[in-house]
């Protein structure tokens, strides 16, 4: 009978494609918008992911997210190093700086000052040059996005693409000369500003004058040390906040979720996708059932139980659901792949696939429920009424 249910569905081509399109639309919108949402959120903590060396981030207790730096006294670094269980602790400067372009325009950049001795927190993947070249005078490393776009030099030929920054080129950072010694790859930031890496001591000379300049302390624990225990210990001993990298990521994400319109905007898009998908699928599936009501009544009269009819309808709903989900996710993935080298934030995670599939299952179940109610309530005697 299940085979029969599927044949009834597949052979009614117009309705079948209509229902599948409804599910596909919902699945596509939920997956695509969800992926962009996750992609954008991932940019908020991209720096934390890229700096994969530190296990613990130590900061002022009032810091709410990665870009919300509240400088510390330099002496705090030594206090942290003195906490039992800390294997190493290095300073990190993180701030904004203005780069003056050749055409006279200014570009805001994220400036990272790495520990002079160890260069911990430096970019993981170099496209050109070496991280160690930061030990050269006035040296900076900039990210690929900045080098090819925002910090790139204008082409003297109008309409031609910008000329990317290369090793050996100079920049003017807050009235200081900086020499590019490397190009690195890294996550695009939430504000899409270029990332500029240099040593801590150089960064504090580049940066605008402030009384305190130490943004974060990057800590590695001794082997076998429980990170959360160490975080608590650092807080107790220094009065600073300490978070594991994952906790800091979540803290940053939660800030953006709570204080920006991102979740609402994407939530509306995803909800609309869900709603439209449910309405289209529900209507088409219900219409399919109504069209077949006479035949379902016939099957009922001939000895098909309500339970079997329900299972047949659920199977039909699941079949269109799986097909629509597959097409929708496939289309969303194609979209993501085609946008890979653009500025679009797109990150399709397996968790999102699960969420999307659950949404599709809910849509199909809602659509099936409407039909099942109609079929269960159907009197088999209706078949004798012509």
């Amino acid at each position: 009978m299940y085979w029969l249910a599927l044949k009834m569905l597949f052979n009614d081509k117009a309705k079948f494609f209509g229902i599948v399109m409804g599910v596909t639309l919902a699945s596509l919108v939920i997956t695509q918008q969800g992926s962009i949402f996750i992609g954008i959120l991932s940019r908020t903590f991209g720096v934390i992911t890229d700096m994969n060396y530190p296990e613990i981030w130590v900061m002022d207790p009032k810091v709410q997210f990665i870009d919300d730096t509240k400088p510390l006294q330099d002496t705090k670094l030594f206090e942290v190093r003195g906490v039992p269980g800390v294997a190493s602790a290095v300073p990190l400067y993180k701030g904004m700086i203005r780069a003056r372009m050749e055409n006279g325009l200014f570009q805001n950049c994220n400036l990272y000052g790495l520990d002079d001795a160890t260069l911990i927190g430096g970019p993981g993947e170099m496209v050109a040059g070496k991280l160690a070249d930061l030990r050269m005078a006035d040296s900076v490393i900039i990210d690929l996005e900045g080098a090819t776009d925002k910090l790139a030099r204008p082409n003297p030929v109008p309409g031609k693409p910008k000329i990317p920054i290369q090793i050996g080129d100079t920049l003017e950072l807050n009235d200081h000369r900086a020499v590019v010694v490397g190009i690195c790859k890294g996550s695009r930031t939430f504000q899409s500003q270029p990332n500029v890496f240099t040593t801590y001591s150089r960064a504090v000379t580049f940066a605008p004058r402030e009384r305190k300049l130490l943004s974060f302390i990057l800590v590695n624990a001794e082997p076998g040390m429980n990170l959360e225990t160490l975080c608590r210990r650092i807080t107790e001993k220094t009065g600073l906040s300490a978070y594991t990298a994952d906790q800091f990521k979540m803290m940053t994400v939660n800030y953006f979720l709570k204080y920006t319109g991102i979740p609402i905007n994407f939530g509306i898009a995803v909800s609309l996708g869900f709603l439209v998908g449910t309405l289209i699928t529900g209507f088409m599936f219900y219409s399919f059932t109504i069209d077949n009501l006479k035949f379902l009544g016939t099957l009922k009269a001939m000895g098909t139980s309500d339970a079997m009819l329900m299972r047949m309808i659920l199977l039909q709903a699941l079949a269109v659901g799986l097909l629509g989900f597959g097409i929708g996710v496939g289309a969303a993935t194609l979209f993501g792949v085609s946008m890979k080298n653009t500025q679009l934030a797109f990150w399709l995670t397996w968790q999102l696939l699960v969420v999307s599939m659950c949404a599709v299952v809910i849509i199909c179940m809602l659509a099936a429920m409407l039909s099942v109610r109609k079929v269960v309530a159907l009197e088999p005697a209706v078949v004798f009424k012509g």
């Binding site: 085979w3 009269a301 001939m302 000895g303 009197e379 078949v383 004798f384």
Partner: protein
Amino acid sequence: MSTVPAQSPRTHSSSDRATAVHCRGVTKNYGTGNSTVRALRGIDLDVYEGELLMLVGPSGCGKTTLISVIAGVLDRDEGECSVFGKDFSALSSWERTRFRGETIGFVFQSFNLIPTLTIAENVSVPLLLNGVDRKAALQRAKEMLSVVGLGDRVNDTPNRLSGGQQQRVAISRALVHNPRLVVCDEPTSALDHETGHKVMELLRGVAMSGNRALVVVTHDNRIFDFADRIAHMDDGQVDKIVGSAKELYGPNMSAQQA
């Protein structure tokens, strides 16, 4: 009109055959209060194995309600009604569905063939419901279609067949699982005279071969000669049970009278 096929059991008397359907004092009302419609008002009726009983009467007299009660697709309000000794009201919903699937074949006025399935698949449905595997069910369905002369059309969908052919498919579907009772609702009303006649010959010839009982609801007086007995209904009651149309309407019967 053609002669009735030779295997007609009308030579047997009622008393030497087992009862297939037994109804006593069956009532059925629709609606409540002042709007109550008394569709059946105490029906007494027996149908015997190997018998083709026609239920005739004017529109609204309760024929369809009675056939629905007999087939177990509608609950009666009062009285007794059993099919091969089984009282539907004493069975659970699941038992009743199973019993219907095993014991009763249905032929409908508008055929009710599923348009998205081939005719072989349509005919295989009762077998699938009775647990026969798909391959065997399709094979049996094709054999049954050959019996009714549609062996070369098994892969066609119903909409490619004429009305008469579709009714032959419906008859195949009603008989494929070898039910003991076949209920037919106006099986010839959607067909022209000649096709209707052929369908009745088929019903009489094929359906009656297994000592089955057939209950046929009809308005069509042109097929009355195929009946072993005719039960005339009026106003929710069986008022006459006769052996032929002539007994019912006299020698000059007309379509209007039916």
